[in-house]
Each structure stands twice: as structure tokens, then as C-alpha cells.
């Protein structure tokens, strides 16, 4: 039988361990930070949680084995990351949070042996955090990366980087940045970008204000970062010069999917909290969970969870086969970001006044998941890309038929 959706025993153990660890060790800590503005608790808490995760053998399931990780494929990461995402702090604890997790993935694929030693190894161990510095304020690189304005110019034995980035997740406290800068071509070109590894203590690197956003759980915030005559040596070029956009694609598809895995865990928690509430709360002569309109919300949540998970399986399988899977990951990300929001929003509604309060985690979850419809490509940009492919295929098919 060809089709097989069952997980290996080793993976099932990862799932189970992560599930137990998240619920027993992480959730109780998360709940202390419910109303807290800088909710992630900072690096002290991170180190404490990560030590516990190492003890529980749930640390870095995704990192290469030679760097102490579990070496799980994308397909196998899905259920493990979902379990970690059940708590907002679970990904930090297990070292699979954005952007570090995507950076580990990128470095594992593109970095030189020396770069792996210097940057990947401490990142995989949780010794440092990192940030991916691509997005710029308008009119620079945002949803449309070709608008990249940060530049890198050759100097003696290296490169000088100048530019202004923002929404750089995890920047505050990061040990190094992967910086995307234009090295050739002009504004609007879909080529000519290069990635640089920039230690945070390099002269000219300034982490500016935290941009206050609906989500608060990201350790290190979403910051403005400026690069002012920052000089790095040649060996800090990540991969080949002018190939930055290609590598960005390497990072992009998997990073989209791991976002979905984690947020799906969060959505599932929201759903569980709501179902537990309505299962017992009474009103209108019945338990709420036995009323049809509430049942509809529960069933819609179950459907959204199942469909998100199923699309994730499809996209991860394609990625594991070595396909860039741009269409599959766009579809899964777009559906998931909207479904996850709906799931949490229905959870809020099921719990009424409690749902909009911090007495339950639902209000907070609703804030945390909203930006996912914008981050990693707004739904509109993904839909545009999906439609372009479909229309392009139809035109090619028609051209072929009518010579």
C-alpha cells in the first residue's frame, strides 16, 4: 500500500514527550504572563525553559543530528511542533521558535562548514538567538521583496552594508543577523540580493524601538534595526553572492509551514479551553455545549483543525521530496492563517465574557494569532500567486491546443 500517514515509533515518541512537556512544564509558566505586555519573559526564562526541555529530551527536534538535534523531516516536525505550539512558550522552550528555527534550517542548507561551526552550532544549542533581517519600511522590501533598498558594496576584503530594516523578529538580544542586501541590479529586480551573517556586536548595527503589535509572545520583539556602514569580511557571505533571493525561497516554504504547525497548536489549545468551558457551563436550561449554535462552532473548529492539518501533511510531504512546493505551502499557509484565526475567535465567542477577558487564555490567543494573516506574506499576496499559477497554466494549455 503506497499511501501511508502513520508516524514512525521514534516520531511518535517525540510527539508524546513534547506533548507531556508542554502541558506539564510550559503551560503553567505561560499562564503567569497572561496580561503581561512583554510576555515572552526574556532570555532568563528562555534559558530556564530550554534547560528543562533538554532534560525532557524535547529540545531542537528539527536541528541536524550532528548539531544535537532530532533531525526530523518536515513531515515529522508537523505533529511535534504542533504539540510544542500548544503553549505560546513551547516553541521557545524547545528551540523551534521563529525566526531561529527557520535560520537553523537555512544555515543547515546553505552555510559553509566554518559558518556552521560559528553560527549554526550555538544556535542549535540555544546558546544564542538570531534574527532574519529582510523586511524594510515602505517603500522598501515588504510583501514584494524586489523592492529591497538595503545595499552591500564591496570593500577591501569584505562588504559594507547600509540600510534600514523593520519588523525584525527577535532582534532585541539576537546574537547575529542574517541580513538581506542588494549587491547588484536595481530596485524592482528579482535578482541581485545577497545574504550576510552579521554578529550583533558589529559596529554600526543598531537595534531600535520595538514595534508594538497585537502579538506579544515573540521573544526579542519585532524591532527596527539600522545598518550604518556595517563592515563584514568576505567569509560572512552566506552562500553565493547575488543568490540571496534563491536562498530566501529555501527558507521561506519550510518557515511558512513551521509557523502553521506552531499556530495550529495554539489554536487547538484555544479550542480545547472553549470546549472544556461549554461542556460544563449551564445556561438557558441546558449545558452550553449541547446547544445547536454552540455545537456548530465546535464542529466548525474541528473541521478547520482537520483541514489545516491535512494541508500541512500535503505540503510537508512535497517539501520532503525536495520540491520547493511554493503552491502547496501558499495554499496551506493561507488556509491555515485564516482557519486558526476563526478557531480562536469562535473559542472567544463560546466563552462569552470570560472569552474576551484574561481570565481565560482565549483573549490573548486571539491577539497572538491575528497577525499571522499578515506575517509570512499576507493572504492577498498568496492568493495572487496561487491564481497567477492557475491562470498561467490555463493559458499555456490553451496555447498548446490551438497552435
Amino acid at each position: 500500500m503506497a499511501i501511508d500517514l502513520t508516524y514512525d515509533p521514534v516520531v511518535r515518541e517525540w510527539i508524546e514527550r513534547t506533548r507531556t512537556f508542554t502541558r506539564e512544564h510550559v503551560l503553567p509558566i505561560e499562564d503567569k504572563f497572561l496580561g503581561d505586555v512583554t510576555a515572552a519573559g526574556g532570555d532568563d526564562l528562555r534559558r530556564e525553559l530550554q534547560a528543562a526541555a533538554k532534560d525532557a529530551a524535547v529540545f531542537a527536534p528539527h536541528a541536524p543530528r550532528e548539531y544535537g538535534g532530532g533531525g526530523l523531516s518536515m513531515s515529522d516536525r508537523a505533529p511535534v511542533f504542533e504539540e510544542a505550539g500548544y503553549s505560546l512558550f513551547g516553541p521557545i522552550a524547545t528551540n523551534i521558535g521563529a525566526p531561529d528555527e527557520g535560520n537553523v534550517h537555512l544555515l543547515a542548507h546553505v552555510a559553509s562548514p566554518a559558518q556552521k561551526e560559528q553560527f549554526l552550532a550555538p544556535l542549535a544549542r540555544g546558546d544564542v538567538r538570531s534574527a532574519f533581517a529582510m523586511t524594510e519600511p515602505a517603500p522598501g522590501a515588504g510583501s514584494d521583496p524586489s523592492a529591497l533598498t538595503t545595499t552591500a558594496t564591496r570593500t577591501d576584503g569584505g562588504w559594507r552594508i547600509d540600510g534600514h530594516k523593520w519588523f525584525i523578529t527577535g532582534a532585541d538580544g539576537a546574537g547575529f543577523f542574517i541580513v538581506m542586501a542588494r549587491t547588484s541590479g536595481t530596485l524592482g529586480d528579482r535578482g541581485g540580493a545577497t545574504m550576510f551573517l552579521v554578529p550583533a556586536d558589529t559596529a554600526g548595527v543598531t537595534v531600535g524601538r520595538h514595534i508594538s503589535t497585537l502579538d506579544r509572545a515573540m521573544i526579542g520583539g519585532h524591532c527596527e534595526v539600522t545598518f550604518d556602514r556595517v563592515v563584514v569580511p568576505e567569509e560572512n557571505v552566506l552562500g553565493a553572492v547575488d543568490e540571496g533571493f534563491t536562498y530566501a525561497q529555501v527558507r521561506l516554504g519550510p518557515a511558512r509551514m513551521t509557523h502553521v504547525m506552531r499556530w495550529l497548536g495554539a489554536a487547538r489549545r484555544g479550542h480545547d479551553v472553549a470546549v472544556a468551558h461549554v461542556a460544563h457551563r449551564e445556561g438557558f436550561g441546558s449545558r452550553l455545549g449541547d446547544l445547536g449554535m454552540v455545537q456548530k462552532m465546535i464542529a466548525d473548529n474541528e473541521i478547520d483543525i482537520a483541514a489545516t492539518r491535512a494541508l500541512l501533511v500535503t505540503a510537508c510531504h512535497a517539501l520532503d521530496l525536495g520540491d520547493p512546493a511554493s503552491n502547496e505551502t501558499s495554499i496551506a499557509k493561507t488556509f491555515a492563517a485564516e482557519a486558526i484565526f476563526r478557531i480562536v475567535d469562535r473559542g472567544v465567542q463560546m466563552c462569552g465574557g470570560l472569552g474576551v477577558s484574561d481570565d481565560l487564555p482565549l483573549a490573548r490567543l486571539s491577539r497572538e494569532v491575528r497577525p499571522f494573516r499578515v506575517y509570512d506574506g499576507p493572504s492577498e499576496v498568496h492568493r495572487w500567486a496561487i491564481a497567477k499559477r492557475a491562470v498561467g497554466a490555463a493559458r499555456r494549455a490553451a496555447a498548446k491546443e490551438q497552435p
Copy 2:
């Protein structure tokens, strides 16, 4: 011609003055409190804003003329309140915020002349704030008011009130409470409640914690309040004994509609901010506002705004004719609460990263408007009531046809 939707010149002037005042005097102040947790600024700010509102002749458009108000009908309040609601602080400034506005309405209809002098007059002038103490934690009075557990028992020359309330909007700093307590009947009875006027400094009244919620703009918060052997004299009974649920209906329909008016103003501001953004921001070789998927969001917002306003007109007209208009206000409230959320949510999406940040007011507005689908009756309870009426009518019609 019978149907007439044009406003009197006097009302048009109220609209215009309120519009100017809100945009020129209130919005700039609101923007200072964007990221602030206790955003409403407190009573000092309130007094400052209200003094300015009096100078601008936009204070208390709804209060009876004999108490210094504008005496506007429900139909005429709609566009005026919408203009005030354009800023989150506009209703506070013009003294039409919840719950004071609904309490003014209730006192004007039910209070005795002495009660009006003692409670309504200072409330209409903005000298004090008030709170409406009905909601109780489960299993008490929530969406289902018949579950009322707070009791009032006769004492010599008065009443003794005992109970635990929560989600009491504006409680912290209120000068007095209108308290709903059971005076006869048993749990589940749809009668037997009485309203009491309780000065906040009465012995036994304790304002407890602020319940932290998604919305932050309500001055005085949403609080827990306990009434522990609180004694009030007979003359503090509001209206007749055991008629509390009837009076609650008097307050309920209009209060629902004024909520809609104010939140519609807030939604319209969110929409305006988003449209102004996409009208000029460029991306993908075009201005965003000229892209079809963005145009769809804009048009859907325009449709939602127009439909909310049209349903408001219908319901207010019915209320002005003296109809309790339970069905019309349920329909308008349910549609509006969902439409207002959609409007702001689309605004967030149109503005992308900025939309989820506090660099624009949209993120905050999205938090403020979410609870409206729960407050004033969750959508599910309104839908249940609407459907019950429709099915009941169908059964009566069938019974009549087949004797």
C-alpha cells in the same frame, strides 16, 4: 410623501458640530493613549474633555432639555453618536458613553422627581459617573437574566442588598450604582427583580478587581462589585418593586442601539484610516487601493457600514414610535456587532504590518470592537430570540389556518 430620511436643520447642526469637535479636539488626545493599558485616561481627562465639549455645544445631546441636554430622539441621536464614536474618547467627552448614557435614558423614564434631582441631574451634567449592576458571575445572571442571584430583602424603612456582580462597566469611580436584585420569586423566574439606586459610598459596597479584557477604552473599567449587607432607604427603589426586568427592557433596546451608533463611528474611523493608507501606498507596481482584492475589502466595508446604518435607522424609528422593538434592535445589534468587527478586521488586513501595529489605530480598534459580539447579549442569544419569534409566528399562523 410619507418616507423621509432627512434630518432637521437643528440635528444637522448637532452632527456637524460633533464631527468637528471629535476630529479636532478629541482624536489628537486619543492618539496619545494608543498603547496605554488603562487607556481611558481617567476622570481628570474626562472632566477636561467634557469642559471642552460644553464649550463646543456638543455635550449631552441625548439628555432631557430640562437637565441641560439636547433632547434628541433615538433617530436623531444615531448620526450624532456616530460622529462622537469616531474617536474612542468622543463618547466620554460628550457624555454619551456607556453605561451613563443608558442610565440617563432609564432615569428619565422611570425615576421619581426627587430621584431625578439627586441622580439624573448630576449625571446629565457630567458631575458624576454611574454604573449598571446587573451581570453576575456564573451561575448567576448573565445572558440569561432570570438566573439573578443578588437579593434585596426588606428591613425597617428600606432594603438590604446582598450579592456579587461582575463585568460592571464604569464601576471604578462611579458615584452611584443602579443595582438589580431579586425581591421575589425564585431562581429562573422571569419576574421578581427590583432596581435600586445605591450611592457608591454606601457601607458594604466594594469595587473589586478590574477584569482585564480586550477592550480598554471604558473609563472605570469592567469590575467585580460586591454588595454585602448594603442598606438603602425605601426612596432608593427605582420605579416599582418587582418591576426590574420590565425597566431593564426600557433600558435595553435603546442602549443596544446607542452602542451600535458609537461603535459604528469607531469602525468608520478604522475604515477611513485604512482607505487613506491604501489610497497612496504602492506595491506590486500599483497603488494598493487600485488592486482588486483591496477594492473588494473596501467595498465590503462600505456595504457593511451602509447596512449597519440602515438597520439602525429602522430600529430607532420603531423605538421613537414607542415600540419596544425587541426584534428590530436584536437584528440591528447582531448584524452591527459582526459587521463592525469585519470592517475593522479588513482595515487591519489592508494595512498589513502597520495594521497589526500601534503605529496606526487599527490594531487597537480591533481589540476594542471584538467584545461587542458578546456584550449586550451574545450574537447567539439574539439569534435564538429572533428565530423563536419567527417560528412562533409560523406556528400561530398554521394553527389559525387549520382549526
Copy 3:
């Protein structure tokens, strides 16, 4: 009090008479044609129904009084047309069906006295039917009228018309056509069109095939019509030469709204049938109408009906004030076409197997109302127009502020 939504006694009598007539005389006949492909029954049935309508004093409520009609304003037509639309044959019976009703409106506003005598008078009396010949197959005039390809060229004492039209509602059996043809300018120009009155028996006029569509209730079908060297005299120009697009606007706004009125009646019937069904049908230990998920569908229908009606009131009031009300009618049409579809679709779902069968009228209604989201401007074109206005206004406002 300025705002007034009550109808004059005269109008209330029109409503009541039309309601009684439609239910007692028309519905029983409609039900005979349920599964019938050419359901409208043809002109014999039309004449029979119209005679009955005249007897019942419900004929031509919209036509000018001097032509025997009721002379009702747009606002007053709304509830009367809705009652007639309660049966699919009601509009035919009362002579307010498309396209005759819109043509009466157009002729009353634009035709010369002689044209009124020749064309409007018999149309208002129901002696003939008419058709409005504007739409052309791609790449001609469709959603984008400026693509008009039919031409009219001057001859001695008149005009020669050549072109190919389709989706011409009511063409088969029409006594005359109002034909839109290009008289100046070139393809894509938003001017240069002229309207012509063309008797159906003019040489060169050919009514071709009926285009088979989801809807079947339109008498005279949706046909292809060709105009091959059709010659008409100068006096058959309707209004001024080159002003055709302007007059089309005169017809367009009101015609959109009367469509909404009629289809709202049809949707309401679908809703009533479904509610009557679930009010008594049992299942799962309850009557279906008491189950929450069914109650949700009922309430959503009630909300959609109320919102459609409220938007109609707003738009009609604007039209009655002499405003072209392009935005108001676009909003009302777009919302209504989608709401009406949802209402009937929910009705189908509530009735289950019966709902998708011809044992109830719901299956048929679901086919009849679907094309309304396309006819009279697809929802996408209306949304585009609505958004363009909003974005244009934002740009003008910004330009004014920043000189």
C-alpha cells in the same frame, strides 16, 4: 420629527391589496408551473393574470397616473413590489416585471409626447410587452457598456441600425425594443450612444434562440436578437442623439432597485416556506425549528431580509430626492443579490431532501435567484465602482490637506 418610515394610508392599501391578490390569485397558478421549463406560461396566462390584477386594483402601481398607473414613488413601490414578488408570477400579473417596468420608467422620463402615446401608453396598459436591447456578446457591451459595438448611422430621414444583442430579456413576443447603438465616438468611449425605439415587426429585426439559463420565470426569455440593416425614422430616437448612456443611468438605478424589491419578495416566500416546514417537522427528538443550528439559519434569514429592506429604503429615498444614487443603489443591489441567494439557499437546507426537490418551491427559487448576482451588473463590477469612489474621495481629501 424629521425621520419618518411610515407609509401613507393610500400606500398601505396598495400593499395590502397586492399582498392579498398575490397570495390568493397568483401563487396557486405559479405552483402549477413548478417543474415547467418555460415556466412563465406565456402571454395568454399573462393576459389572464393581468385582467385579474386590474379587477383587484393592483395593476401598474408604478406607471404614471395619466397612463392608468398608481404613480407611486420609488420609496412607495418598495413594499408593494415586494408583495407582488412573493410569487414569481406576481410581477407579470401586476405589470411590474422586468424589463417592462424599467422601460415604463425610462419612457416616462425621456420620451416625447408622441412617443409616450405610441409606446408608453400600451405598455402601461399591458397591451404589449417590450425589451431593452443593450447587452452584446463578447467582446461587445456587457458589464462594461463602453464596449458597445452595435451601430446606428444616419440615412435619409432616419437611422439604420446594425448589431447583435443577447441576453435580451423578454425579447420573444415583445412589441418593441429600446435599442442602444453607437452613433459617435469609438469603441471604449463612455459617450456616443443613442437609444432607439424599434417596433418588433420592423424589417431586419430577428429574435433568435432563447439562451437557456438557471432562471426560467422571465416571460419572453433571454434571447439573442439581431438588427440587420434595420431602418427607423428620426422620431424614433428616444431623447437626444449621443445621450444614450446618460438615459441608461436614468433607467439603471431605479431598475436595480425594483429588481431587489421583487426578488426580496421571492426570497421572503422561500423563507416562509422553510420556516413553516421546520416549525412542525420533527427529528432528533425535537421539532426542527427548535434546534439551534436551524434557529441560526432562520435568524440569519431574518437579518438578511431586514438589512436588504433597510438598504432599499435608503436607496429609494435618495432616488426620490432626484439623486442618481449610484453608490446607494450599487450597495443595495450588491448586498441584496447575495443576501437573497443566501436566504433561499438556507431555506433549501432547512427543508433537506424536500428542499432540493420540486415538492416545495425552494429548489426552483434557488435557480431563479442565482443569476441576480450577475444580472444588472455582477457583484464584482459594483464592488469595483464602490471602491473606486471611496479611494477617489480619500485621494481628493489628502490632496486638499497637503497642498
Copy 4:
């Protein structure tokens, strides 16, 4: 690597052959029957198509190999059935249409060797058609099977069946019926039903009227069937007495999924037709397929197709593992029935006037797919079952935690 979503070469060949056959041999024939009321073309056409399918080696992919079929698992059926479903006549041609396909499945699992020879073999070969007679008019067995009123009572050496069934798909022309009848227990019991194999020519079996429904493609229609003192011998009991509901479950899950497979194919055809249309049709100075609102519809269709397919993979895998998979199949069916409707409906909208006409297959497809939200359990019943499981699990979990 555990997770594998690739198909065996043998299955890939089935997919490819079925795809070619459906498009080259079946679609051209389907298109001749577009406007036809009794569109399925009858058994003559069926036999002709089935002969061609046998020649093309695409006949009966699902039937057991010993009966000449392909013996494909549920997982492997999914892509093959989807290809067959691309034409409304494809399932008939390849002998995988409802209800025969489900009956083959049921007989393969439950029938005795003699019954297999008598009933399964000719059915698998396409020599006869069959029908599954369970549904009854209200208040009998419908969405709630426990309301079963048809009875079977023991006679000498056999059983006598009496009852009234309706919506019996394929009844007209069927060679035999599988009849569900109550053999013990009383109305409302979830046990006590037995299945009987009843040749159509048995005395007392009457196939009544065809119930006219929105869908027309089912050969043999949806009919009323009465069983009036129908006597069958003991050997015509299918499986064990009183176990009918258990066997119905055996049939139900897989039958739901094969419905989804086939209708997904139909939806995909509608989508392809629409995309091909907008890829080239011009309007508003652009090709329609390049306009944002159209792109949104295309992308939403792609997402709905991908999610339906992914949920199908999940559910079929569970069924292949021997799980009844009630929840998985309920989720997949509910999502799919709604998604398929949306896909076709958006296709209609993309094609405008053509979309609602029979000039393209979309109007017809929109009618064909609508009832799927009702057939095989209305969405509301599935949601109720899904929610009950979720709430039940929450209650059990809480009971375990709080002893």
C-alpha cells in the same frame, strides 16, 4: 520515512487511463445532454459507455479482483474516482456511480458466497444496476435512521416486507434493492434493523414517481418505492438479522468518501472551465483572469480543492486501516460538500452571463452539486455528530481529572 503520499505505479496508471478516457470519450457525450431534463441518457447509453470503459481498462476500479475489478483501496480510489467524476457521466461509464459502487462495497464485505454470485457478480460487471432502499418520507427514517418504519416480519421460510421508501436513487431500472427494514425493537431504537436483498421483479415491489430534484445526472432517478407484502426467502437476508444498522455503517463511511471523490472531480471541471474562460476573456482594459477580484475567486477555488483532497486522503487512510472513521468521514464530507458548492458557484460567477446559461456546463454543475449538502447526511447532522464527540471527550477528560 513514514509518511508517504505517493501512489504506486499501478495506481498512477489507473489515474492516467481514467483521466484520458473521461476527457476523450465521456465529456463529449455529456455535453450533448446539457439542457436535458432526464440527462443521464438511460441504460442504453450506460451500456455503450461501459463497453468503452472496459475497452479502455478503466471499468470497476473498486470492485474485488475476483469479480473483475481493480481491487483498489479507498486511498487509491480517491484520485481515480476524481478523474472519473470530472464528467457527470464518468462514474456511470466506469461503474463507480452511486448507489452501485457503495452496494458493491457492502456486498463484498457482508454477502454470503451465494449472494455474491447472485447479486455482486452481475453488479460488478455492469449487467444490472441496484438501489439502496433506506430513506423514508417523514416521519420515517431520514437523517435520523432510528425512525425506520418499514417492517419485515417472519413468514414460513422467509420474510414479508412492508413499507414506503423515497429518494431511492437509481430505483427506476434497478435489478435489485437492498432494503432496510425493522425486524425488532420499536420506533426510535438504534437497533433492530435488517437488510434484505430484493429482486426488483418480486411481487409487491412498485417503483413510483421520480422525485424531481435539482440534480438530474443520476441514472434511474430518485424515486418513491413501495413494498407491499413483498416476500423473500431466508437466504435473501444480507448478513445477520437485526444487524442492519451496523452494516449501514460499513457502507456509510466509504460511500460518503466516494461521493466526495466524484463530486470533487465535477467541481474541478467547473473550476477548469471558469479559469479557461477568464484566462482569455477581456474586460475593463484587462483580461479578467488578471483582475484581483477574479484572482481571489480562483485562489479560493484552488484552496478549496486542495483542502477537500487533503481531507479525503486523511479519511481514506483511516478507512483503509480498518477504522470506521466516523469522525474523519463526517469532517471530510461536511467540508467537501460545502467547498464543492462554493467552487462551482464561484465558477458560475467568474463566467457571468455565460456562467448562468447552458452555453457552459457551470449552470448545470451548480444544480448537480447543491444537493450534496443534504444527501448522505445534511451538514447540520454531521456537525451535530462531530460536536457531540468533542464535547463528550471533554466531559470524559474532566471526569477523569476530578475524581
